[in-house]
């Protein structure tokens, strides 16, 4: 059997590197889990009083709320609260502390109960996450496709009118403020009879499936357009400059001297190399935008994760925020891990470091 020439072998060295990266990703997630717990405990104020701001609440009721959310338990063993002066009793059963219960529930997939919705955080985030993935997925795919194609074209026609037009529109698209573009599109959509908020027309659920889908696509149109425009410019500019850099490399000249056609050079020698910076960028964007499409989701009242986190801040809904933060952190870490994987596939020089 002859080994394939297209890709190199997958040596042990690379498996070791991937295992190492995976280990780091896990470690980072553990760190976030711990940090996330204490972050919300050092915030001032009594969560039990924040939820229901009624001055007539009796101390008994407040205590009942505290018990209901487990806030009556010590945070960790020996500490009643995070105030180091107020040392609590070390005689408490460590299994009966807030931290232990938090970790135990996390392992069971339980993210706690939302103060505001009075529903499991997991369920709320689950619904919101899918909406966000729908919006971001559509937006990212479009932005990447359009950006890469235009970027390649601009680099191929470098220093011509086409290139300059692409360059200027890319810069403009990239530098538009997200909220401003969203509001402009909102006005434009209103004048063209497009739905401008939410993800479905009320009462739509009683309609046939195909009609529901059509309605969803209509609602998706404006936020996706805004998202695509914002990210498209960035991808285009990076793709353009990356390809221009690669085309100036010695090995491109050497490939030309071998008698390869311009198309062969672009396809076989330039593309893979010029995709490297883009992979990093896509991974970073994907990771952050799971929680970062706040502006677009807010303007278009899109029921996504960004909107949920934004609202939870206003409502001091700590369990929801805590769950949201964890989800975002895990997304960023996972996206980076996937970028590492892709990178080591694209560039054989990335090995054990």
């Amino acid at each position: 059997m002859t080994p394939p020439l297209q890709h190199g072998t997958f040596p042990l060295q690379r498996w070791r590197m991937l295992l190492k990266r995976f280990g780091w990703a896990l470690f980072t997630i553990l760190f976030v889990v711990v940090l996330n717990f204490f972050l919300f405990r050092v915030l001032p104020g009594d969560p039990a009083r924040q939820g229901i701001r009624d001055p007539r609440l009796t101390p008994e009721t407040i205590q009942a709320i505290r018990v209901r959310f487990g806030l009556d338990k010590p945070i960790i063993n020996c500490f009643e609260s995070l105030n180091p002066v107020k040392v609590g009793s070390c005689g408490v059963n460590p299994l009966d502390t807030q931290f232990f219960i938090y970790v135990k529930n996390l392992l069971k997939g339980d993210l706690g109960q939302s103060f505001y919705y009075n529903r499991p955080v997991k369920d709320i985030l689950g619904e919101r996450l899918w909406n966000t993935i729908l919006l971001i997925g559509a937006g990212q795919i479009l932005a990447i496709l359009i950006g890469v194609v235009f970027g390649l074209f601009a680099a191929w026609k470098a220093r011509t009118a086409i290139d300059y037009a692409a360059l200027i529109s890319g810069l403009v698209a990239w530098s538009l403020p997200t909220f401003w573009l969203a509001i402009i599109l909102l006005f434009w959509g209103t004048n063209h009879g497009l739905p401008i908020g939410g993800k479905a027309t009320p009462g739509m659920s009683s309609y046939p499936f195909m009609q529901q889908m059509g309605d969803l696509l209509q609602h998706l149109f404006l936020p996706t357009l805004a998202y695509t425009i914002i990210y498209m410019g960035e991808y285009m500019l990076i793709m353009r400059s990356s390809l221009l850099d690669v085309l100036a490399e010695d090995y491109i000249l050497a490939a030309k001297a071998k008698g390869l056609s311009a198309f062969q050079i672009l396809k076989d020698h330039a593309l893979k190399n010029s995709m490297l910076p883009l992979v990093t960028l896509i991974a970073i964007n994907l990771g952050f935008t799971v929680g970062g499409a706040v502006q677009i989701e807010t303007v278009f009242s899109w029921p996504g994760l960004g909107g949920a986190i934004f609202e939870a801040v206003g409502r001091k809904d700590y369990p929801l925020l805590q769950g949201g933060f964890l989800l975002i952190a895990i997304s960023v870490i996972l996206a980076n891990f996937i970028a590492d994987l892709t990178y080591s596939y694209l560039d054989p020089r990335v090995q054990a470091d």
């Binding site: 020439l5 072998t9 010695d250 050497a254 001297a257 008698g259 893979k272 694209l346």
Partner: protein
Amino acid sequence: MDAIHTFLEVKDLKTRFHTPEGTVYAVNGVSFTLKEGETLAVVGESGCGKSVTMMSILRLISIPPGEIVSGEVTYRDRNLLKLSESEMEHVRGKEVAMIFQDPMTSLNPVLTVGRQLTETLRTHTNMDEEQSRQRAVTLLEWVGIPDAGKRLTDYPHQFSGGMRQRVMIAMALACTPSLLIADEPTTALDVTIQAQIIELVKKLKQDVGMAMIWITHDLGVVAGIADRVIVMYAGFIVEEAEVDDLYDSPLHPYTTALLQALPRADRRRDKNLKSIQGVPPNLLAEPRGCPFAPRCEFVKERCVNENPLLIETENRHKVACWVNVKTGALR
């Protein structure tokens, strides 16, 4: 001129680069011929137009900013400068191959060596994947890479500098070209590796029976490899001679100065090596007069105003100089 033996003839080649700082006069009317199987060395300091001349022949200059203003490159009765781009692709790599200075950057880092080798074969021949793979193994063995069959799936970063240059050479020779242009192929390598590569290329040249143009700034390398030598200065050919003639009786003051700056085993060691005073001319100005005049110890008034043409003085020995360096008198 004998049409059978002259298989490459370059006539009055002029290449310029249009940069934001102005026009760079890189090659200013270069003419030379090459016979089948002959080895020609092109010598000169950095920026004298050696590489640009050769890249113009293969039309590897990027246009813009480059421009081949005039000239004819007749290769086997075809003017390469008049061919279409797709006709040119059949010449490059198949009939005229080129190896470059830096093997570290001239191989694509993300493609396996086997892939890059077979690519040339599959572009220019109708070999299938298996045939081209077998041929690639033969090529790698030929250039002295041990365990060639296993190394096809390796990436360039898994090879040392000298080994990479061997791969580059294997790639260039894949389609047994009739002319190999070597652009300072040993400059980026260690001295011991340099010697190995030079020996390898000499051997391969014998095997293939191809002609070769060897660009270098190292006169020491030239003596061992070339039949004929061209000395370039500021985009002009200033002297052309058989290799022995050039070392024994250089006719141009620049060549004389170069040879005096070179340590030689057959000379007394108590004399210091001479360096050439001054700096090479700015190529941004349109050339006027002899380009070497400002640094020349024999300079006459005529040198400043009129550029001497390359004329044949003795048998196959050409020089572009107003002064006879042996007598110091005007020609």
